[in-house]
Symmetry: C3
């Protein structure tokens, strides 16, 4: 009794003033910063009609909106329904999964527009960030990193902690992305390094710092029920189906987007079969485990991210997916217990298996594919276009590019682990309203829950 | 005992002959009217190949289909999954929510194609309505108004009443839309006035006329269970994610669609944070309420509808969203009880908070934004394009336009309230098979329900 | 006791070695075959930039990717979420529905890319299959046939059997498709014949061969619970909403895609009303049956498939939908019991009502519409474009085309029934791990199921 009392006093989950205060102040800051910095770019401004004439653009259809908007909407679905529902698998944390995912993504996209804008879309003539549809996609991408990290701490943190985690996550993301894409000039269309490797190790590092030795106290809630697993499949499938859009959304117009979609489609198909194979092989009587089907089937999409735009060739994509399905499912079976017991990393959704390992593989595949690129396969112009060997990088060759790709992977890892440890320490401060060990994975801490069961008189 | 007997006699919910008769006769009427009136337009007819040549259109990609089809499909998802699942939150009315939504939308889009066609797409050379993808979008929009109205009476009416409500609703919609968009030449890309204000006050007026003083008898069913709230989040998220498509679907090609999407994306992001803030602030211990998250997070999309295409600027959109999240959530907490107790308006889904107030705000924002439009900001051509200051309206200036925008809002309100009261009186006739007070919010009245609970021997 | 023991010995559902072996070996074969045969086509290859210049293509937007990718993604959603969730209606087989659907579709699209590639996309200069976005769509289409067939045997077969069924199904599909589309030169944009008629009769024939006289033993699981019916509506609605994309995805650029979308939109709207009418008419007290709403509302999309691209005219589409809603719902009420009792065909999802009958109707409507085509209605160029009366078919006239359309329907039926019986016999071999009669419709045979009910202490 006293033990729990002490705990309750230490762990005050009343976020009544803290959560509203953070939401209000941060949203007001966004408004002010947007007022100072953010404007429409030439394709979303009413001056587009003049711009068109000035640049001999014959038709409105050549507005970037029409190249990217369908992919943008698919990515948007992945962020809000995909990530949100994938995490609803816990029997009693579905509100928190889909609701907090919604909250932090809605804040994150605003902060990402600013952070990425300063690095990538700043118009030096007037000091304004000029935004269009590509910025919206990149903001969604940036948020994806933080939502991946959420998977590691799902059910163990308060919404205020999640917002803090997102604020720092987006900031770190924008810097590492700038270094990887602009300074190193590495390519990463689908973000295997920039998004997945970064997001996963960022979350795992935070979870390591926030290690809860007595998490077993809420063990009875750390699992699924039948229908929560079906809800999670909504998330899985929307992620799986729209991943070709994710990896092609900001690829080059024309063949770049086209090829990225094909590569991703194939890698994901291949992953499903090896996931099923391993899941069945390691369970008694060959039964399948929903955890694997929900997560590992997506590993191929992660791993083909960096090289999606490259001439990976269709069978190359299948090979990547083949191995990722195996590795990711083996991760759930063998590596996750090791991670928790030996390394003291509690990873609720198993993001190490879905994002971390496949992300690193994706970075390596990208480096190899870049190194192996030849004029014969790509064509002279094709090689130049695909790797943007123009301007200050006009003299770079594929073998050198491969080295920079590998360097990019290291940058992502450093930012993720260093940043994660720092943010983890910040989140350890006893002011954020996180739940006690016996209240983890329980919606009733942060949500009004009216009734759990669908029961009726006479039924 | 006798009381209930009397009630049951008065409230005969057997719709066996009435529902099939209405469906058959109305569908046959649609076939006949379509046979007389509706044909393909020049972009969906096999003569397109000749039209292209005649009009020097260089590529098939300039067919309006490619400008609008992706947005159309998103809007379609909002209508059927968005509205349908948003209303599944009731513990025992999910079939009625998603099923009747399906029925009335399927009827409504046909009747809307005719009604809107006569006003907007009539080819005077042959007296035929010529349809293309833009007509499909507009039909979906038109239906949205009726589905909003359904939210007010959810669980309290029969499917026959819903069909009658839709028939009149579409008719009224087409007339008020014609007056607002064509006669007054107001702009309303996302339909804050035409769709949301009209739909919401139409539904609220009907609900006022159909007031049930003894609705408390089915109070135990007027609430959610855990998983029905998760189902509702599917609706919420698809509405939220695809709202940029909704507001940009019929905007001008090029920058118009592009800007409308950006403005909506931002307004909605902002709304989420203030919704969470207010929800947490007004609940004991700062818990969040799913009702607010499911509904108020969408208010920004409603309120930015009219001005979506304007140079609202990114921070302007954030401001609109900021206030709408606050007002809408406050509405659920404070205004809904007042509405029910004092004004005798029973509003099952709280459409007053989600559509009515934000819709009116949207109309006002649109009027202000139009009034404030300048050549400096828009450019000469941009101003002309955005407000269509051409033909008979070539001499109109922004300040005048602002006045007409405000007039448009008044027209929407008048049609909604006047029409709603009239339709409410029609629906009061005791011939439509509506449920008794103790049977409201219960699927078993109109649906074969086999089994509620997932129970098994030994489990 | 001994009876069940014998049964359990006969019916060993341990798929531990068989399922992984099939998945691994088949996936490896895919990799090898893709390595030998599959390459990017000119629009997804880095040489696109050269191809553009060589062919005077002015803009990247004319890459086929931009014409078809939005439709492709919609089709992709139909395959994985649409078919997957439509089948989750069983109270205890939702994992199998959505999970096995996922597995066989992921394998099927790979095998389809090869099979269809050999027939349609083989570059004879280098012996390679060249793939682009249209191939991805066609692979999804091909898989749709097998998923339809899955509906007939849902809950009664093992995942290994499903994979075998898919392997043969795709193979047969590719051949019948080649004969119908290329040899007979019949048109079938939405696949009423090629996909639906074939898939449905293929599945029904298999189910006929696999007839289980004692299926009543698992009767208690062959039904829905409240929330599983709501899950199924997710599938229904995504199929319904995206069907216009399905029927237009591989139609001609420009007016072809545009018209196919309009026709499908209208046919489906009409079907909803007659489905509701018949469902209400034949139930006691006029209640609606979720089975009908989930399935028969889609019949119009099936039946308008072949003629979607033709000048069916809007009212023609409504008429097709009108009758299909009636026939399909009547099928569920009257024909399904007859099929099971008299013809010994157990059809879990009622695919005979949703795909078989509407598919045949679609083939007939297509034949009639082709026969009735005139230069007056289509225009000279329009007629040539729509029916591809070019090359070796330059002299074909509409009346002859109508005959070939009808011949195509017969080919689909022959391949389906012949192939289905053969595959059924293969699946009867006692080596595939199918469930005993008393274990049908039960996820616990092939899935780790942790907990069924959402129960909590004190709740």
């Amino acid at each position: 009794l006293t033990d729990q009392d002490v705990c309750d006093r230490l762990k005050n989950t009343n976020v009544r003033w803290r959560l509203p205060a953070v939401c209000f102040v941060w949203q007001l800051s966004m408004i002010i910063l947007f007022g100072v910095f953010v404007r429409y770019n030439e394709e979303s401004d009413t001056h587009w009609v003049d711009y068109r004439k000035g640049n001999n653009i014959t038709s409105d259809i050549e507005n970037d909106f029409y190249f990217r908007y369908p992919s943008f909407q698919d990515v948007h679905v992945m962020i809000f329904v995909g990530f949100g529902f994938l995490m609803t698998f816990l029997k009693r944390y579905s509100f928190g999964a889909v609701g907090f995912n919604f909250l932090i993504a809605a804040f994150g996209i605003q902060w990402a527009l600013l952070m990425q804008g300063w690095f990538h879309s700043l118009d030096y003539t007037d000091g304004k960030i000029k935004i269009g549809v590509e910025n919206l996609i990149n903001a969604d991408f940036c948020v994806a990193g933080c939502l991946i990290a959420y998977g590691a701490v799902l059910g163990k943190v308060s919404p205020v902690q999640l917002l803090v985690m997102t604020l720092f996550g987006i900031t770190l993301f924008a810097v590492e992305e700038y270094i990887i894409l602009n300074v190193l000039h590495a390519k990463d269309a689908g973000g295997s390094m920039v998004i997945h490797t970064f997001g996963a190790y960022y979350g795992l590092s935070i979870s390591w710092v926030l290690y809860r030795p007595n998490l077993d106290k809420s063990k009875h809630l750390n699992g699924s029920v039948y229908h929560s697993d079906v809800f999670a499949m909504i998330g899985t499938l929307f992620l799986w189906m729209f991943w070709p859009s994710f990896n092609s959304a900001i690829a080059d117009h024309g063949d770049g987007q086209h090829r990225a979609a094909i590569n991703t489609y194939l890698a994901l198909a291949s992953t499903v079969l090896t996931t099923v194979a391993i899941s069945s092989l390691f369970e008694k009587t060959g039964k399948l485990d929903m955890v694997h089907i929900q997560n590992s089937t997506l590993a191929g999409g992660v791993a083909v991210g960096t090289a999606a735009e490259f001439m990976l060739s269709p069978y190359g994509s299948l090979i990547v997916g083949f191995f990722c399905g195996i590795i990711s499912t083996m991760g759930y079976i063998h590596f996750s217990p090791f991670l928790e017991e030996k390394l003291k990393i509690q990873d609720t959704c198993g993001i190490h298996n879905l994002h971390a390992m496949p992300g690193v593989i994706g970075g390596i595949v990208g480096a190899i594919a870049a190194t192996a690129a030849t004029n014969t396969v790509y064509g002279d112009l094709g090689l130049e276009n695909t790797f943007d060997f123009t301007g200050p990088f006009a003299k770079r060759v594929p073998t050198i590019q491969g080295g920079y790709q590998a360097a990019g992977l290291c940058v992502a890892l450093c930012f993720a682990i260093g940043g994660g440890i720092f943010v983890g320490l910040v989140l350890k401060l006893p002011i954020w309203g996180d739940p006690a060990d016996e209240n983890c994975f329980d919606d009733e801490i942060y949500w009004e829950v009216r009734q759990f069961l669908l029961t009726f008189a006479g039924n």
